[in-house]
Symmetry: C2
Subunit: 303 residues, 2 copies
Amino acid sequence: MTFEKRLEARAAEFEAGLGDALDAAASRHAGLPPRLADAMRHAVMSGGKRIRPFLVTETAIALGSDAAAAQPAAIALELVHCYSLVHDDLPAMDNDPLRRGKPTVWKAFDEWTAILAGDALLTLAFEHLGGAACPDLDDKRRLSLVTGLALASGGRGMVGGQCLDLEADKLGQPKVATQEHVQRLQAMKTGALFRFACEAGAVVAGAGTTETTAMARFGAKLGAAFQLADDLLDIEGDAETVGKATAKDAAAGKATLVGLKGLAAARAFLAEIESDALNEISGIGSRADVLRETLRFACARRK
Amino acid sequence: MTFEKRLEARAAEFEAGLGDALDAAASRHAGLPPRLADAMRHAVMSGGKRIRPFLVTETAIALGSDAAAAQPAAIALELVHCYSLVHDDLPAMDNDPLRRGKPTVWKAFDEWTAILAGDALLTLAFEHLGGAACPDLDDKRRLSLVTGLALASGGRGMVGGQCLDLEADKLGQPKVATQEHVQRLQAMKTGALFRFACEAGAVVAGAGTTETTAMARFGAKLGAAFQLADDLLDIEGDAETVGKATAKDAAAGKATLVGLKGLAAARAFLAEIESDALNEISGIGSRADVLRETLRFACARRK
């Protein structure tokens, strides 16, 4: 099976579980207002590569667990990712009317519904980890997932990264963005959830501290590679292949590592990150081959 | 000590702990952007009666535990309450520029900062329950608090109630609000967190299922009494005593139980709720006297 096929197959499998989780929430939550349930579903069941759930699952498998045990953590993480897109798209934030060719939640419903749907999805993620949806894990591992997800997605993680991004975008701060600043912003805004994805897979598999930390580092580096490859694609990509307007970042005056380092140095840095990431999991052997392929996919992608 | 003095003393004690928790989050979270930290502090350290933390603490004490053990749950609950105010005040929601005479977060900062500060506070609440801030409780009780808080504050709880409220306000739905609808809305929007406050106190104290359920029901009824007394105050209160414009609900065309039942029947209903609530904790004896006083305070308040 090619890597792309595996990613697609896992996404299909994952989405069935995700849909069930939303149905279960709606029926268990007899009080969930239909408008809110519809907006939550619109936000969550809108395609995407489901790369974060894929990482949770494949990390858990690489460390001896299975997809079923990883599913609750994968669902919770994807709920957080989806809520963040709903809030990011709002007029007061990125003001995006479309996502993957479909109206965003605030456009399909309205702003207040989008704010509340995001709030409800974030809350549902923690309900999902704490509750009966997570029967394969003991209390210690569930709590570790709750804390890990909160740290990755809160003020020092994803939300903090979004704050730094909007400070640059709306307030022009800092006036001169250094490479360090851009790396920190990206590590928070996108890296933190990738980091948690691999950490969560290790927690699900009951891995020890050393292995869990190594996996978390691998995830963080994979996230950095993913982001840098995206920035390179923005400059190098042919608009037709990429399927979206290219050189968008430059036009928007957005500071990226490619802009700060130059094209050749950015490509070399990507190779360095890839090599560092491989080192993190060098002790795991062939069981982690899917993770290595994921890294290669992230670094080499052309769209 | 009079009840009001006790409430004030607890609020002062609680706020010291709450401030410490925010400081700890800011220092532990080296990456927390200062703008976000400031907005979170603005949202949280802005006065208020701190009635929900008071209920967590007093319920825990009534069942044999103490204020220190109850503090993490009290803080998590207040963080959720404060985030909900930040989002509710947004232009797309209630469009309130002032709260307790001070600019709301979106007014003092801007809309995107307010959205992110709310998101970060909600996430911090779960971090707080899952993590090291909660040393006195075993894993089982921490998880029970995570799940309970998520259920109370999510789509079938507080966020769902806010959705129903805005459906009425913005979309005029339902066209005719029945008493059942108004009661359901209020039970979700404000009742769910009151319910959780007393449930959490019981969980902290390690109470059994019967006692925990009775406490949760007491909390829900206390919340309903609080809301109904507020509605009565809106009609009956003298603007000078209440400190805000009265008959605001009627002017805004908002459906309330007082409007639907009439004044005399609403007063009788409040007495009925008070009596039902007292019944829920009749088995607990004098240890629960502060909770009984809280109920009396909620029902009899004049401002």
